[in-house]
Point group: C2
Chain length 332, copies 2
């Protein structure tokens, strides 16, 4: 892949956008208040303290800044995309029955599933209020479409788990819903509010889409390559949860009859015993699916960088391009 890599484009973006990010934090804190239902700020605060890279608000603030936006609504939109993201995390943890995220207990464990479902709904509703305040119909329409794509992707993922017929095409739809739709909308709305030209909106939309896909493929790959129990992640979590991600799909495509039986037992029927993960990893190595999946992530990162090429040169543009490298960099 081409180009140099700023090793910490994310840190540099955070530095450049420090004031805005702080203002977004204030807005988030303000909007998660609830005089009557203190459970709401409790759960939300925990979620926000638990960290996360703030990638989505950074995309929104970056694109607004690139096009010289001088108003205040980019803050609303940055808070909006973070709220949507937090809401999906809350619901995901319930659906996945997760107990840990980033090495900390998840809200569904600390409180209960009920709180996670309802506080998630509250965050969706708040995000909707925040974006409505911008009075920008185009932004609303983009975020409404993104919300529907996210929800559809989540349902699709649910029905695809345990399902060996999941194709690469369906996998792509799932990760577009899960990750790329919000990345793409986050990048585009910042430019919409800044009244950027049509061609630039298109560039940022494509950038966000490709960045999100690269990010999610990398994430799914790391599940088979990166053992990091201190972050609450263990190698093979997706395998144990019978999720059909790209490295598995690629291995199944090439499987012999005997190997197909293995995948049917472990993924479709979910009957796993000691040593099965090792067999799965061996099959992935046999068909080079780890390498092939890595190349796929790199090629989406490349597409993301290319998408921004037509935009005027700007430090933020270069950092966003480097961010695409950085995101898949963890794979090397």
């Amino acid at each position: 892949m081409d180009g140099h890599i700023t090793h910490q484009p994310l840190d540099r973006l955070k530095e450049l956008l420090a004031d805005e990010l702080q203002a977004v934090d204030c807005l988030i804190r303000e909007r998660m208040e609830s005089e009557n239902a203190p459970r709401i700020p409790e759960v939300t605060q925990y979620l926000i303290d638990a960290g996360g890279k703030k990638l989505r608000p950074i995309l929104t603030l970056s694109s607004a800044q690139m096009f010289g936006y001088e108003g205040r609504y980019h803050l609303h939109l940055a808070a909006t995309v973070e709220f949507i993201h937090s809401a999906t995390l809350l619901h995901d943890d319930v659906v996945d029955e997760s107990a840990q995220r980033r090495g900390k207990p998840t809200p569904n464990i600390l409180w209960d599933n009920k709180s996670s479902v309802l506080v998630g709904d509250f965050l969706f509703a708040r995000s909707f209020q925040l974006m409505t305040e911008t009075n920008n119909l185009r932004v609303l329409s983009l975020l409404a479409d993104a919300s529907a794509t996210i929800a559809e992707g989540e349902v699709l993922q649910l029905t695809a788990s345990h399902n060996l017929d999941t194709t690469e095409d369906i996998y792509l739809k799932i990760i577009r819903g899960k990750t790329a739709a919000l990345f793409s909308a986050a990048a585009e709305v910042g430019a919409v509010i800044a009244e950027a030209p049509e061609s630039s909106l298109c560039a940022l939309r494509d950038y966000g889409d490709a960045l999100g896909i690269a990010f999610q493929i990398a994430d799914d790959l790391l599940d088979y390559t990166d053992d990091n129990p201190s972050f609450g992640k263990n190698i093979g979590d997706d395998f144990r949860e019978c999720k059909v991600t790209l490295p598995v799909i690629k291995a199944i495509e090439n499987a012999t009859q005997k190997e197909k039986s293995f995948w049917m037992r472990t993924i479709e029927q979910g009957e796993q015993t000691d040593g099965d993960l090792e067999v799965a990893l061996d099959l992935m190595h046999k068909y080079d699916t780890i390498e092939i999946t890595r190349d796929e992530a790199l090629s989406w990162a490349f597409k993301a960088r290319e998408a921004l090429k037509p935009l005027h040169d700007d430090e933020i543009k270069f950092l966003l391009q480097d961010l695409a490298n950085y995101i898949v960099h963890r794979l090397h």
Copy 2:
């Protein structure tokens, strides 16, 4: 209470709005399609077949019609409020761990909690797309506020269950969130899209609010007075679920020390044995809380009728007024 009662104002409204209601059904069916995730139309279709009175879309269509609206967006808004309602039902059943609704198994039982959470999210997102298509910022702002009130009410209800400190004031906030916020928004947005004058918007907003409160108080009261196992409702369901509704709040307000211990054991600690429901009912009768709660519902129904008085005379206006009577009529 004043006035005559048309015995079936709802049937007459359905007759008057038959074409529109059919068009709303078409729109709903169209928007719950999902090429990729067939689980979505499965769950949604089931929910819609299971019936329900379609009160919310009827409110929207009625107010649009009263102000001579001739466009198509009232259909979008009617479908929007029905989608929001369906989404909250899906999430409620998960939170309440319900197994039956209107005498039929709930989707969380027929499929699973995961599907109910995610399909609910999908319906929220679809409702958001539908309302965005109207390009009416005022409508969007109203529905965004209603969504936040609904979600906050749900969280508040969760933290109020088992809680004897729940005041009438908190109870009112809960039922405003649970029921009245969407009734109120449903009635108002139909008139907003029809460009009704400001004073009429206010009248419809107040009508929906009072109607929703009357409706929910009646519902909570029926839980202690109406045994109807064929509809999947049994007397005392709320008591067994330790919900603190108005008849209980009124009984606790007056309780002796010994009676307080009874409520603490049964509602706060949730330790119930045979005969406890009968004791609870006796205490409610002792303090006339059934009668007092009924009067409260009737007085909100009266407020609802009064709210519409300033509007121009129209068959639909009279039917909406009768609807308020009809809703609490079940209490006699």
